[in-house]
Assembly symmetry: C3
Homo-oligomer: 138 residues x 3
């Protein structure tokens, strides 16, 4: 069995993080699938989906970390060609990853207590984000 | 068809690496699935599952690398709030990734000769780790 | 339903990038699967599959970035043991990831306009790369 749905939300620009765990839980519930996997995908190359503890400290630490290692201020070839100011956004999101798969057991995602499914905006301006959740199993 | 099982093991703290390829092979064999995928997931946000050559050199290099780029010694907001000394563990494991999917062909995972399925402990103390393997296909 | 196929191509050595989106589209078309996921896997531990905008600027920026953060010139334990000059290749590819899953809708991969499925060579010499595409769904 396969069940797929989309949802969307607004982000506030670089570093904005959204806990999307409940959205994924709802999609799994609607699928009626008890055992399998749920795949969550960000449509677009500058948004990230990952597993992290969703708490206010890490919500500052993660954007700071990626801007320290992949800084907006470097001279990028992408910037030289396109002048849209978001070369670092592309590099950050491609490295961190635009998708995540979690197991489904008894109709729910299997997660640790401090492990949430989170969207991280890497683009430099507010975006409408479209996510695709695909639940497979039986 | 879907087959799911859990297994657990003890880790020795930060940087400890375990080759879990044979555990995944066994799960696939028990599933009787010949063609599809196997998804391996670390329950908890400070443990990593990845593909790497499991040999003693890289077993030192990878923990050194992640501690160089995401050092324990920085001032993290997570640490300021929670004082559990593992902010870097969260950031490392969220970036490296807590899950991996590999293809299954003829009832076995498809891997290169020097490509193993490996668990990396990013937390600072020994942990009991719970992994979920989900095999899907036919 | 599950459909699996392999394809291969030659790379030119470190930093060489190939847009493999059309290969994945063709596999999905051959599978006749309309809704589900496609999983793309690099057999071998020094090649990467990721989502990125495939354009000439980022094709220089990404290899430069990973060589800046995980440089070929450091003293690695892997190098000391094996002397094959590619310790950084292993570390880069294990961190960036050797596989990607994308959703399939109406018989096509769901991707943003500037989001392609791309292979990145991290090994230091030209390689023949074998990729496995597994399409699952209905």
């Amino acid at each position: 069995m396969v069940f797929q749905e989309r949802f969307q939300f607004e982000t506030a620009g670089h570093g904005d993080m959204h806990d999307i765990t409940s959205r994924v839980e709802e999609a799994i519930a609607r699928s009626s699938i008890q055992t399998g996997t749920a795949h969550i995908f960000n449509v677009g190359s500058t948004g990230v989906v990952l597993g992290i503890e969703f708490e206010s400290g890490l919500m500052k630490d993660l954007p700071e970390l990626i801007n320290r290692l992949i800084p907006p201020s470097l001279a990028y070839n992408h910037e030289e060609a396109w002048h849209d100011g978001n070369a670092h956004s592309h590099l950050q999101a491609s490295w961190l990853g635009q998708e995540l798969t979690v197991p489904v057991t008894e109709g729910r995602p299997v997660l640790g207590t401090w492990q949430q499914i989170v969207h991280l905006e890497c683009d430099i301006k507010p975006r409408t984000r479209y996510l695709v959740v695909t639940v497979m199993g039986e």
